[in-house]
């Protein structure tokens, strides 16, 4: 509508200036009056009255203001107003109107005798100020409330009346004043003639003017986009992108917290990760009501059944019904409950424990299944009974038909493995420390260490040729023995033992162990108390003994020959030393066990690996090619390990301990040097009983079968088969 009007005015404006506004006014007023319809209730008959011309109202207005200067001005304005349609004049006119209305209250310079004084000062005074001469300006007598009310009710124009406090008089607003106020209230321009959408009239014309103000052509800048603007735009874009300028801040929602809500979800909001809010106490329910429904009230039987319950299961509160709130007794547990709640709030450690979520099984190394590693000894089928006391040592014959055992009851026995029959029994009269069967199948000779002696016994097995050979070997000329002993070099005397038809080697200290070389000619003996002369190597064929030409570091425990090379292993309490017996005759390797006390040692049949058992129940595997530190330490026995053993052909090794068990391990050594030995624990063999705090004293594998013999302090030898 307005646009159309603008268009019209633009087209017409050049032609007729004076008539146009007249056409416009009534239209606008009509619009206004239509819009005013909602005020009809207020205006009452006023609305029915048609609005007069603007000049009239203006003049009347100016007249009512009564001030001379203003009247003049207003008049002149009014006149001017009537003469032309200038926008500026209209604004000034509207402005004037506003000023006028203000002047009636604030700056009524001529009339206001009071001055710019807060009227509150005169609130309780009978006067409201002073005039120019200093006389008091009396307040008008006020009508009493009833009278004023009645007069107000009676007077239909009462709503137009405003009390002017400064002048202490009632002012009746005129129609146009009210109209003005209404327009102001609506946010419109106060003067009804003002058209905020008046068409813009450019008085200056470029093309057609005969004498243009400037003949200069339109500058180029009017047509090209502004560089400065585009720069600014780019700047803004950058700022927006970088987040320097932010708009549309999300409205902050009012934060309410649910008083009774579950707090468990609140932890994410809390800054402390470990913070766990205390649980809220339970809300009272129907049963806590003073007069609950009968179904909440327990019967007498139920109450008595509560007594049978455990203290903690018993309900804390038994619902009861009261006729009135008044008759409710005090809750006897109130203090107790409060106290407990407080205790819970400040004493209960609400800490989120950080748990590593690791599957413990995944940490274990991947080992092959035990089933794939069969055969290995599992069950005990045969027991060899006959010894009267702890069996200290056992040794198997090379073919696997016989086993020899030595016991603290002073006997050495040979058993038939297959049937468990005791074949021979030598009464040697002294506790046997160690027995060792000659590894050569041609020499069925048994070496037995008892006290300071080592006995070489002819077992009587083997065919006639072997027997004659053995008899030859075990023949010692008595004078030779004395001669030998007289010599300075020999500390060991080779004596003929007629009782057992063997040789008795007399040492100067107790011999703890005897170990044969694989060819069955040499054997070594260990005397732990022998200090520098603790280890000897004997040669059976020459009946010659020799002290080990190396300095010993520590107390020797056991000694072994290398299964293939001319190396010799000596275990002292803490270390294992490997010496070369031929060639350079020097220390080759020193292996540090890290144990307090080594008890036993066994060399892998290939010779590069060895296992060492200790009195702390630990066993370690050395790969001599790898390092001088243990490749693996196996902590399996709770008590001393008494012996360890390797199987000759199967990849098995075993340890036995004073805890009456023997452990079987799979110990695979690969010929590939890059591959480390594979060690898998296989089986725990039990069955021996403890005697005098000792358990299993010795274990040996069968030379051909995956069977293990264990000798126990309970005087039994057991055979464990696969």
């Amino acid at each position: 509508m307005k646009n159309q009007k603008d268009m019209k005015t633009k087209s017409v404006e050049t032609a007729l200036n004076s008539e146009e506004p007249k056409e416009q006014k009534p239209q606008q007023q009509e619009v206004e009056s239509n819009s005013d319809s909602s005020y009809e209730v207020f205006s009452g008959d006023d609305s029915s009255e048609d609005v007069g011309s603007s000049e009239e109202s203006d003049s009347a207005e100016s007249g009512s203001s009564g001030d001379e200067d203003f009247v003049n001005e207003g008049d002149s304005d009014g006149l001017e107003n009537s003469g032309r349609e200038d926008d500026g004049s209209e604004i000034s006119d509207a402005h004037e109107g506003v000023e006028e209305s203000d002047s009636s209250e604030d700056e009524v310079a001529p009339r206001n005798t009071v001055g710019d004084v807060p009227l509150i000062w005169y609130k309780d005074e009978p006067h409201i100020g002073y005039d120019i001469k200093g006389k008091k300006l009396k307040k008008k007598e006020k009508e009493d409330a009833l009278g004023s009310f009645l007069s107000r009710v009676d007077d239909s124009n009462n709503w137009r009346k405003i009390y002017d406090e400064y002048n202490d008089e009632e002012v009746e607003l005129k129609k146009d004043e009210i109209r003005l106020i209404r327009r102001l209230l609506k946010g419109k321009a106060p003067h009804p003639d003002f058209d905020p959408y008046a068409p813009y009239v450019d008085w200056f014309k470029y093309e057609d003017a005969k004498h243009p103000l400037s003949n200069a052509p339109e500058p180029k800048r009017r047509f090209i986009p502004s560089k400065w603007e585009s720069k600014k735009v780019v700047e803004y874009i950058r700022a927006i992108r970088k987040g320097w300028i932010k708009f549309d801040k999300p409205k902050e929602e009012p934060h309410f917290s649910l008083l009774w809500a579950d707090d468990s979800g609140l932890t994410e909001k809390a800054n402390h990760l470990a913070y766990i809010p205390a649980p809220k106490p339970k809300l009272p329910g129907h049963d806590e009501s003073y007069n609950p429904s009968p179904e909440y009230i327990p019967t007498q039987e139920e109450i008595s059944s509560y007594q049978l319950l455990n203290e903690e299961d018993r309900p804390k509160f038994i619902p009861r019904s009261f006729t009135t709130l008044r008759s409710i007794t005090t809750y006897e547990n109130a203090f107790k409950d409060c106290f407990e709640r407080c205790l819970d709030l400040y004493l209960c450690p609400r800490v989120r424990k950080k748990r590593l979520n690791i599957d413990p099984d995944s940490l274990l190394p991947k080992l092959p299944s035990r089933k794939d590693l069969k055969p290995y000894p599992v069950t005990c089928y045969i027991e060899y009974r006959g010894h009267k006391d702890a069996v200290t040592s056992i040794s198997t014959e090379a073919s696997g038909q016989w086993i020899a055992s030595g016991s603290t009851d002073g006997t050495v026995r040979i058993w038939e493995i297959e049937t468990g029959r005791c074949l021979r029994n030598w009464e040697v009269g002294e506790a046997v420390h160690s027995v060792a069967w000659n590894p050569s199948s041609e020499h069925p000779i048994l070496a037995v260490s008892l006290g300071p002696d080592v006995l070489l016994l002819n077992t009587g097995l083997g065919n006639e040729e072997q027997q004659t050979k053995v008899k030859e070997l075990l023949h010692v000329e008595t004078p030779t023995a004395t001669h030998e002993s007289g010599e300075r070099t020999s500390i060991v005397s080779w004596l003929r033992d007629d009782k057992y038809e063997g040789i008795r080697l007399r040492h100067f200290k107790t011999v703890s162990s005897v170990e044969w070389h694989r060819k069955g000619d040499y054997f070594s003996t260990v005397m732990p108390a022998g200090e520098s002369r603790a280890i000897h190597i004997h040669r059976l064929s020459e009946k010659f003994s020799q002290r080990l030409p190396f300095k010993l570091h520590g107390l020797p425990v056991s000694s072994t020959f290398h299964p293939t090379r001319s190396h010799f292993f000596i275990a002292t309490k803490k270390t294992i030393r490997v010496y070369d017996l031929l060639g350079e005759r020097k220390l080759i390797k020193k292996l540090d066990t890290g144990f307090r006390e080594v008890s036993s040692m066994a060399v892998h049949p290939a010779g590069d690996n060895l296992i060492v058992g200790s009195k702390e129940g630990k066993m370690c595997w050395f790969d001599t090619d790898l390092s001088s530190a243990p490749y693996k330490v196996l902590r399996c026995h709770p008590k001393d390990i008494t012996n360890v053993a390797f199987h000759r052909s199967y990849p098995l090794f075993a340890s036995c301990s004073d805890d009456c068990t023997a452990y079987i391990f799979h110990g695979m050594v690969y010929s590939d040097l890059n591959q480390n030995p594979l060690i898998v624990p296989l089986e725990i063999l039990r069955g021996h009983t403890s005697s005098n705090g000792r358990g299993v004293l010795d274990c040996k594998f069968h030379p051909r079968q995956p069977w293990l013999f264990t000798a126990g302090a309970d005087s039994v030898i057991r055979l464990h088969c696969h």
Binding site: P375, Y381, I382, S399, G400, Q401, E418, T419, G420, R421, N463, R704, Q705, W707, C721, H722
Partner: protein, 434 residues
């Protein structure tokens, strides 16, 4: 008929008919009768006994065993039918046989030491070998007729070569003294006290203890397995002219010139890598051997070639060939399982039967001579067990020994003889095996 009131209608009934191959007094009418399906072997036995008694009033009750479709009944009928998927609609034919169980335990015959070997292949006598280096001949329980004296170490195995010679029998013994000895004696001699006899031939050649001896069916040769991993074949004849004879020694013993021959092995079968623990020679051409190297081998006796191997995974101690067509191989060893192989089955070395009721090593196993199904086993757990291939449970368990049983055999077809660690020879008789 004789089915009494305890068979209520609540339990299902099965129509059965009892058939048997037993002789006349044990036969029952072949009419079908309805029996409750929850009957077990004991219940069936009662029924059959009652049926027999109805015809024959002075009949004494006897345990029976029942076969349905060639399988021994070891559970209630209902379970059996369910397990085997046999319909109960038709009339069920149940064959009954006398239960295989010893009915009499004879007094043990004491030895001086462990009884290590036994042979009962001759019905007239029992041959035993003992750890006291002697072999003994028993006519029955407690009646020792001959003592075979000569070995210098424990006798590990005995074998009867010719059970009934004309007045004399030949036996062979193997010992831990690395020799075999052949003996001849006359069983029929009536003697009051045991007669000591000497070997007529000593067979030397093994380098280690002889573990097992077996005689050829034709009685001309014996073979022996030993700890030196070999099997040696020997001639048994006593004449000087024939082969295998090396030297003749004349000895003067007890004012009497005694002739002792010495023999050498005819041939040696090499192949086992460990102790040959058991040999059998059931047919002239083939020898079976079991060894500690976990294998059972069949050898051609003529050429000495290894024909077939069965690997078991366990050390084997005993071996016997018998059963159906005398071709099933039963062996036991270092575990409580008695295994039976069928070498006729191509391409498999898995045992066809496994009997695992023992609790320790098996020391002996023997097939029954006549029956295809029955065998016995002896174990270090002190028990003898009788087995039937038609059921997985032992038919009966004989616990006559105190300690390990080291050897066992059938005798006369109805007795089990065994020797063990308690130095006794035990005879359990009255076993009816068809």
């Amino acid at each position: 008929m004789d089915i009494d009131g305890d068979m209520e209608g609540s339990s299902k009934r099965v129509q059965v008919r009892f058939v048997t191959k037993l002789q006349a007094p044990l036969k029952v009418p072949t009419t079908s009768i309805a029996v409750p399906s929850n009957l077990t072997r004991f219940g069936l036995s009662t029924i059959v006994n009652n049926l027999i008694e109805s015809k024959n009033p002075d009949w004494e009750a006897e345990p029976f065993d029942f076969l349905i479709d060639g399988e021994l009944v070891r559970m209630s009928l209902e379970q059996f039918l369910l397990a085997k998927g046999i319909t109960a609609e038709k009339i069920l034919e149940i064959e009954y046989i006398k239960a295989v169980a010893p009915r009499k335990e004879e007094d043990p015959s004491p030895h001086n030491d462990w009884v290590s070997a036994i042979d009962g292949s001759s019905p007239g006598y029992i041959l035993t070998g003992s750890y006291d280096n002697l072999g003994r001949v028993w006519k029955g329980s407690g009646v020792c007729t001959h003592i075979l004296d000569g070995h210098s170490d424990a006798v590990t195995s005995v074998s009867i070569i010719s059970p009934e010679g004309a007045g004399s029998v030949t036996v062979a013994t193997g010992s831990k003294d690395r020799t075999l000895r052949l003996w001849k004696f006359d069983v029929e001699e009536a003697i009051n006290h045991p007669l000591k006899i000497r070997a007529f031939k000593i067979l030397r050649g093994h380098k280690a203890s002889v573990q097992s001896v077996a005689a050829q069916a034709s009685r001309k040769m014996v073979c022996s397995g030993s700890w030196d991993c070999t099997i040696n074949l020997w001639q048994t004849n006593s004449s000087d002219t024939e082969g295998g004879l090396v030297s003749t020694k004349k000895r003067k013993v007890n004012d009497q010139v005694d002739e002792q021959l010495e023999g050498e092995a005819v041939s040696t079968l090499v192949g086992h890598t460990q102790c040959v623990s058991s040999v059998v020679w059931p047919e002239i051409e083939s020898i079976y051997s079991a060894s500690w190297d976990h294998s059972i081998r069949r050898w051609d006796a003529e050429t000495g070639k290894d024909l077939s191997d069965i690997f078991c995974g366990k050390v084997l101690n005993c071996l016997d060939v018998g059963g159906e067509g005398s071709s099933l191989i039963a062996a036991g060893g270092s575990d409580p399982v008695l295994r039976i192989w069928d070498p006729r089955k191509p391409g498999t070395s898995a045992p066809v039967f496994q009997f695992a009721s023992h609790t320790s090593w098996i020391s002996a196993c023997k097939w029954h001579e006549k029956s295809w199904f029955h065998l016995l086993s002896a174990s270090y757990d002190g028990k003898l067990m009788l087995w039937d291939l038609r059921t997985a449970w032992p038919l009966s368990i004989i616990e006559s020994h105190n300690g390990k049983v080291l050897c066992a055999d059938w005798w006369k077809g109805d007795s089990v003889i065994s020797g063990g660690e308690d130095s006794n020879l035990c005879i359990s008789s009255g076993i009816y095996v068809q």
